[in-house]
Symmetry: C2
Subunit: 475 residues, 2 copies
DNA sequence: TGATTTGTCTTTACACATTTA
DNA sequence: TTAAATGTGTAAAGACAAATC
């Protein structure tokens, strides 16, 4: 006899009994996948509990578990013990963000570029590098993790952020995301769990999906992830790592102050987590923000993979990021670099090195900070009513909205108005929250003037969007 | 009652009953992993059958299955239905091959470089590119899969090999291995099976391990993989893809002739496999070898991911490879590119494009072919007794040996003699075979003279190595 | 607070396919 | 050729843990 009478309370999903073939669990997963991707089951829908569906189909409930698990691994659904199983917010679409072509008419406030106005300085450096006599020696397979003098330049660059490491404990990768892919492949296994902010870097969500790593969303406040919440989750389940962007979180613009870094470090140490510290925004905080303190790598050198990309601070088109790691991780990371990249282009790394050693990199970073400051000032002029939280030099803003419209619809609405923005659903690492945001990139237009036009369009539609929201919810 | 009396025939592995903790399967897997990595269980050792070990430990045999499965996913062991479970040949060590530092005294016949003597031409092209006015425009996030004119150059280059495709069905990646990583992450899932030659590209073995993809070794002959054997394996188990290097297989130097390509294509079509065609050596075969025919991509355009790296043909230090794919794979591959690379360095791709469009790339490739011919001639002079099989322009040779010494020992033996070579164990995709080989790189020395010195050392130790082997076994 | 709901993990049972002798 | 040996795949049972009311 069924425990729950499914005739009284109709189930949200009633798969066709006759469509089930053997193996049952695969067949059931396929039916579910089909119904989700074809829109019969909307994001957020609560699926029938495992036992209820099992009774309905007259099979064992652990077979349902297996079918649900298949779909969960694909990111289509997520399950919460005690609450139920739900269709993911981003089930039916990819949230990968890239600078793919949009019409020239559209102002891009979506993808976060890096104020490309200073690329002429980089172009000059490139020219200088190719005139050097030793260029030929960069064009072979040698030094797969980076040429010693390039590593010296890298350490030089990172020293300003508070990183002190040895050449043997670092490597050069092809950009931050490449470094993240290397780290995941090197140190984690499919099925492992990594703790992240409720809203986090969308491409990290995607690459975790690709590698079948489960993300565990941890609540945070205006100073970042809450140590107590992280501790709780680690006590409750086997968590292997944690991903943080302490200098300026993407997309929330939160900077983790020193006191919070220390609290988090204590929890991370306690649970022996691997910390993946993406410090792409170090140049916006180190030596600028009062309570920056130091990278968490310095607090947890044995457990941290520190990643410092030059895409935002120096140049986005030259694919260079530095990975710093302890002896414990060295062999695995270097091996993963060989296996994913063979080596990183020495030419790109050489140009970045030239920029660093000549001091031009600092000048470029200073210029970008200046542009970021102007852009943020402009944003505040358009949205004076917003509370002044978040990083003052961030390349993007995190705009609370009250409209309950579906994320895709809202993005399309603004596309029709002539601007591209990204909805907070794209950055959700787990279940939906009732609070919605838009991420507004400030660094992707060709000029401040274009940004101004974009923000004007945005703000003209904004009053309707903030609606009744008085107190922006915690991040 | 035990079916097999384990008291009469002692089991090769007797885990300590008392060391078992709950969960049993994990605990058991850890014990096994420990005993393998610490050398208590030598490569090739047959483990106790699942039922026998289960009787011994007094638990259900499927719990042993689970424990064995964990170790199999890590590449520590492999199982053959009907025969048993065995410790992998490469269980205890990494077989990743890279151009890491070896002493300057040692002549490198191990890692396959690409006759770097022509890099001065590349350096000139680099200089020319940096003098172009539009360099600045290459230094941003735009066109993540490649700039249109670079793609045109790519298609131009590949047309000589028989590839005809559209710009929208190709992308630029950071080298062949990066393209392979992208393909695996995009189109396969952990646990999937890919058919490969018995001996195959070692870094492909490693990246498959990282991504928990199982390799299914398929026997071959002097014309490559045997279609009948591939068909058999696909009938027996669920195989998702097949990896081939038709123009010149690494490490066996086999070129698959046109008739065999067609036979294989028929089997691949029949089982709807995804073909990963690594055609890094196309420039050595297309238009040169009589029975080259065409890339398999042209035979199976819907099911093939065609990868064409320029590392061997043009320049190894500029990380550029082209991926060609059908509409069916497009979305997934492009998404994986965004997630692993964000984008590939436009600068590297631009220099390669410049070389292609100016005709210098062809000149470089011609020079490398000439050097390869000389190197192969030199090799034949040193080893006249060897049958003339394999590709005549290969950048490496595959040398049958009869010595039964362990692979690592043999490599170290030659290191002590002053040369680095790689033993066939590194290239084993599955079980050990009784036939052993050395892979001898011809393209990594700084000069033919240095190669000559290296081959002299090798050949002086060779008579002892070939020993009694009369008929080299099939590849 | 304590019972109930709900999902997770481990182990067992069993039918089946392949290999080997 | 058949029987035994051996690994694989699916399903079910049950103990457990978290969330909810």
């Amino acid at each position: 006899m069924p425990i729950n009478s499914f005739t009284d309370y109709p189930m949200s999903w009633k798969p066709d009994r006759d469509a089930l073939k053997r193996p049952l669990y695969r067949s059931l997963a396929l039916l579910l996948e089909h119904d989700i991707t074809n829109g019969f089951l909307a994001p957020g829908t609560k699926l029938p509990p495992q036992r209820e569906l099992a009774d309905f189909l007259d099979i064992n409930f652990t077979t349902i578990t297996r079918a649900y698990k298949l779909c969960e691994l694909k990111g289509l659904i997520y399950a919460v013990t005690g609450s139920g199983t739900f269709v993911s917010a981003n089930a039916a679409r990819s949230i990968t963000i890239s600078k793919d072509k949009i019409s020239n008419e559209i102002i891009d406030l979506g993808f976060v570029a890096s104020f490309e106005q200073s690329n002429n300085i980089v172009a000059e450096a490139a020219k200088k590098v190719t005139e050097k006599g030793y260029l030929e020696q960069l064009l072979n397979y040698n030094d797969p993790t980076g040429i010693p003098h390039q590593k010296a330049a890298a350490l030089n660059w990172m020293a300003d952020f508070g990183i002190h490491a040895d050449k043997d404990n670092m490597a050069i990768a092809s950009g931050a995301l490449n470094a993240l892919a290397i780290t995941l492949l090197a140190l984690f296994e499919p099925g492992n769990r990594i703790a992240v902010d409720m809203y986090t870097f969308s491409n990290f969500i995607e690459i975790s999906k690709l590698y079948r790593i489960k993300l565990v969303p941890i609540p945070g406040d205006e100073h970042g992830m809450l140590p107590g919440e992280l501790d709780n989750q680690c006590l409750q389940m086997d968590v292997h790592g944690v991903f943080l962007m302490p200098s300026c979180s993407n997309p929330t613009t939160v900077m983790i102050p020193d006191y919070r870094k220390r609290e988090l470090a204590a929890v991370i140490r306690k649970h022996r987590l691997i910390l993946i510290e993406d410090d792409i925004h170090a140049f916006l905080s180190a030596g600028i923000m009062a309570d920056y303190g130091q990278p968490m790598f310095q607090l947890l050198p044995e457990q941290t993979v520190y990643i410092c990309s030059t895409s935002k601070s120096i140049c986005s088109g030259l694919r260079v990021a530095y990975i710093v790691f302890s002896e414990a991780f060295k062999e695995k990371i270097v091996k993963a670099i060989f296996n994913i990249n063979v080596k990183t282009s020495s030419l790109d790394a050489e140009i970045i090195s030239e920029l660093i050693l000549s001091g031009k990199a600092s000048a470029i970073a200073a210029k970008k900070k200046q542009l970021a400051e102007s852009a943020n000032r402009l944003f505040t002029e358009f949205f004076p009513q917003l509370p002044r939280t978040g990083h003052p030099l961030s390349f993007y803003r995190w705009l609370p909205i009250s409209d309950d419209a579906d994320g895709t619809h809202m993005e399309n609405y603004f596309l029709n108005k002539g601007i591209r923005v990204y909805h907070s659903d794209r950055f959700l690492s787990g279940a939906s929250t009732r609070d919605k945001y838009l991420r507004i990139a400030l660094s992707s237009t060709n000029s401040l003037e274009e940004l101004q036009r974009g923000l004007a369009i945005l703000s003209s539609h904004f009053p309707k969007l903030i609606g009744s929201r008085k107190n922006p919810a915690p991040l």
